[in-house]
Amino acid sequence: MTAYLLRRFLSMLATMLVVGIVVFFVIRSVPGDVTSALLGQDATPQQIEDLRRRLNLDQPWPAQFAAWFGGVVRGDLGNSTYMRIPVLQALAQRLEPTAMLALAATLVAVTLGIGLGVIAAVRHGTVTDYAVMVVAMLGLSLPTFWLGLLMIMLFAVTLQWLPAAGYGALSDGVGRTVRYLVMPAVALGFSQAAVIARMTRASLLDALGEDFVRTAKSKGLPPARVVLRHALRNALLPVLTVIGLSIATLAGGVVVTETVFNIPGAGRLVIESVQRRDYPVLQGAVIAVAAVYALINLLVDLSYLALDPRVRYS
């Protein structure tokens, strides 16, 4: 087990390194630099040159890479060229909104998904089943940003029930955070809920046809208990795979959702850093995202250990 964890950890580090190197060179091959974001729209060539010199943007790439990499090894991700604060600080600031959004969206996806999936499986073949599957289909097919825009139009602008944009920090009260996250979490989690619902339904149907379930039924156990205790636990394993994948898909959806709802999170920071050519932040953010992703994958894999005694890692 320890050997397994060690191997996973090392491979995570290797991936982070590879990803960091690739991003370093890719972003520098894109024309433009941070001066266009720092100066006004019609800045003179002289101003641009002066700024470029002040920021050491003219140094050859290997020198820049050596400087940056040296810092990373020591745990120093450098400073943002646009914001002039340490990259770690910039990332840390933006971590809470993204984490809360991802958490809320996952909650929506899991509860909605498993709930709908169970209902559909239990009412297999009826209108309810059909309706749930149609809704799930729609969830898979609607673009997240479109759903988000429509929700803003309806709930924020027309009905004025919810705030149109922004984020309430936890330090200002959990209630406020929830209010700001309702629409983004639903917009983001809806498509994943669809995936989870379909998977839950499918594997639950499988499990319900199993021998041990028929045995339980023939013993006279109430159907609800049969479903919940016996079938569901077995059915959850593949669902867990899907949830793990969902979190990955969620990471991508976070970027678009943060843009539409103006949530000051890490996803939007990455987009802004690309637009501004803020290399240090982009490099640091990409490495951080890769690390988080790998960690989540590891957690999902470890959770299999808890759920299925047949699984072993060496």
Partner: protein, 527 residues
């Protein structure tokens, strides 16, 4: 019985009159956006801005958002009133200029205090102008000059050659000649000043990068007592706090204004103008003058050096539909041949050369094209969808020039790439966009040979511009510029299209005493 009734009637009448009087009073006090009311002190103004500003230091960046936020915190020697006239702000009076135009004596206003409590003196002005010269626009106008403090409240600038616009630049927000204290300049050197200590009515309370800038009223503000006008006069800080919140998405900014999340949508879309003005809960304000929307021509490109070709393009452009398509509502632009708009007052109101403006004459254009050396080369128009009015205008301009026989290619990239491409003289031919205008032609980038499009102009134009630069007398300047503008049109140095205005959306409970073309939150209150 009769007596009681009379008394009661009288009583009722009295109450009725009282109620009516109060209602009348209320009706007068209640105002819409324009009606005067009694300013209320207090409250927080939430302004949704287009993104995190790169700095709060105008010396290092003249991005409009930097200037607009920083102007609450830092002030200038001079300011402009609503008519465009330069008036004293931190200076005590207009400068005394020597007969040869080489020496400027500027008195500094007494009693002005910085946010840290220290007093403003000539030394602070000298150090600030010096820094401005090292880092900003001052590099041009103060090149080779000596700046010194004659005494505690007098600054003397000695120029190597006359500079016609010096006073004007010192009183022009985009000129960015803000005044900091010597102590702070010594402490930060040439790094951007992100915690500016200025003399303005508000001070920086907090700046959370990527999220918001929070300003708080500076109780020790020592301002002027003249009536507010434009950028000048009294700056009443009614609001306790101003929060500039970064909301990069335009649709989200508007939705936030409509749902009450924000009080001001800084940079609303033209397409929302009508809706906002028809609504009870908000109104729109047009910031005029805003920018000049032009087609910038790359004079380093061989194909664009052909005069007849440029004149052909100039003749082909049909400005009104182009502007309408680019901006969406004709309330946000004004077709005008004057390069320096009328709102800037006395300097340049000339319509010389106007017969070459907005000709939309396809026949003449094709004639000119046939007289040129144009041989079917592909004209490269660069643009970015990050500024959708640039992109749409380019689409329409290409459509109009296609009609007269030009072959074009539109290169669409993100803004950073477009800026980089524009800096490469071999990579583009025409760029359409908004350009900052100013009260003086020397301050307008594309009129001058030092700008990136390499325009030196015809001999006639170059000579007139050179003469303008050393002339300070206002009437003489108007005459010279008039001829120069005509020469500019003849030469098709750039293709002038229209004056464009920015749209700010305000919640109805926000009132502003005096307006300027840049965003100001002083002289502003919330009900």
């Amino acid at each position: 019985m009769v007596r009681h009734t009379t008394k009661r009637s009288a009583g009722i009448l009295a109450v009725a009159i009282l109620v009516l009087a109060s209602l009348f009073g209320l009706a007068f006090a209640q105002g819409g956006a324009a009606a005067p009311g009694t300013p209320v002190s207090g409250g927080t103004l939430r302004v949704a801005i287009t993104g995190d500003p790169p700095t709060l230091d105008p010396h290092t960046s003249t991005a409009v958002i930097v200037l607009e936020i920083a102007s609450h915190v830092s002030e200038y020697l001079y300011a402009r009133d609503a008519g465009g006239t330069v008036t004293p702000m931190l200076a005590a009076a207009l400068p005394t200029i020597s007969a040869d135009g080489l020496t400027y004596t500027i008195p500094v206003r007494e009693g002005v205090v910085f946010h840290d409590g220290s007093s403003l003196d000539a030394g602070d002005v000298v150090d600030s102008l010096d820094r401005w010269r090292r880092l900003g626009f001052g590099k041009g106008v103060l090149a080779g000059a000596t700046i010194a403090a004659a005494d505690d409240h007098t600054v003397v600038i000695t120029l190597p050659a006359p500079v016609g616009i010096l006073t004007g630049v010192l009183g022009w927000t985009e000129g960015a000649a803000v005044i900091y204290s010597s102590e702070q300049i010594a402490a930060i050197g040439d790094s951007p000043n992100d915690a500016p200590i200025g003399t303005g009515p508000y001070r920086l309370a907090e700046w959370t990068r990527g999220q918001e800038v929070v300003l708080e009223r500076f109780d020790g503000y020592v301002g002027l007592t003249d009536a507010p006008s434009g950028d000048a006069g009294a700056k009443n800080a009614y609001l306790d706090t101003i929060r500039f919140i970064a909301v990069s998405d335009a649709a989200t900014r508007q939705a936030g204004l409509e749902s009450g999340e924000y009080d001001v949508n800084y940079r609303a879309a033209a397409s929302d103008l009508e809706y906002m003005n028809a609504s009870d809960s908000m109104y729109a304000w047009l910031m005029r003058p805003g920018y000049n929307y032009i087609a910038l021509i790359n004079h380093a490109s061989p194909v664009m050096q052909d005069l007849k070709l440029r004149q052909a393009i100039q003749a082909a452009i049909d400005v009104y539909p182009l502007m309408l398509g680019a901006f969406g509502d004709d309330a946000v632009f004004a077709l005008t041949p004057t390069i320096v708009p009328a709102e800037y007052g006395p300097m340049a109101n000339t319509t010389a050369g106007a017969e070459l403006y907005d000709q939309h004459d396809a026949v003449k254009a094709m004639q000119l094209l046939s007289e040129s050396n144009y041989d079917g080369q592909t004209i490269r128009w660069i643009t970015s969808r990050d500024f959708d009015y640039q992109y749409r205008g380019t689409l329409i301009a290409v459509d109009q020039t296609d009609a007269i026989g030009l072959t074009s290619e539109i290169i669409v990239r993100d803004w950073a790439t477009t800026v980089a491409t524009r800096a490469d003289p071999t990579a583009w031919d025409i760029f359409i966009g908004n350009f900052t205008i100013a009260p003086e032609p020397e301050m307008i980038s594309y009129l001058n040979p030092t700008y990136l499009n390499g325009y030196t102009g015809s001999d006639e134009y170059a000579a007139l511009l050179a003469e303008l630069k050393t002339t300070a007398d206002p009437d003489r300047r108007v005459a010279i510029w008039s001829d120069a503008q005509a020469a500019f049109y003849e030469d098709a140095g750039a293709i002038q299209m229209a004056n464009t205005f920015l749209v700010n959306g305000y919640a109805s409970d926000v009132h502003v005493e005096a307006r300027y073309f840049l965003f100001q939150a002083w002289n502003t209150w919330k009900e």
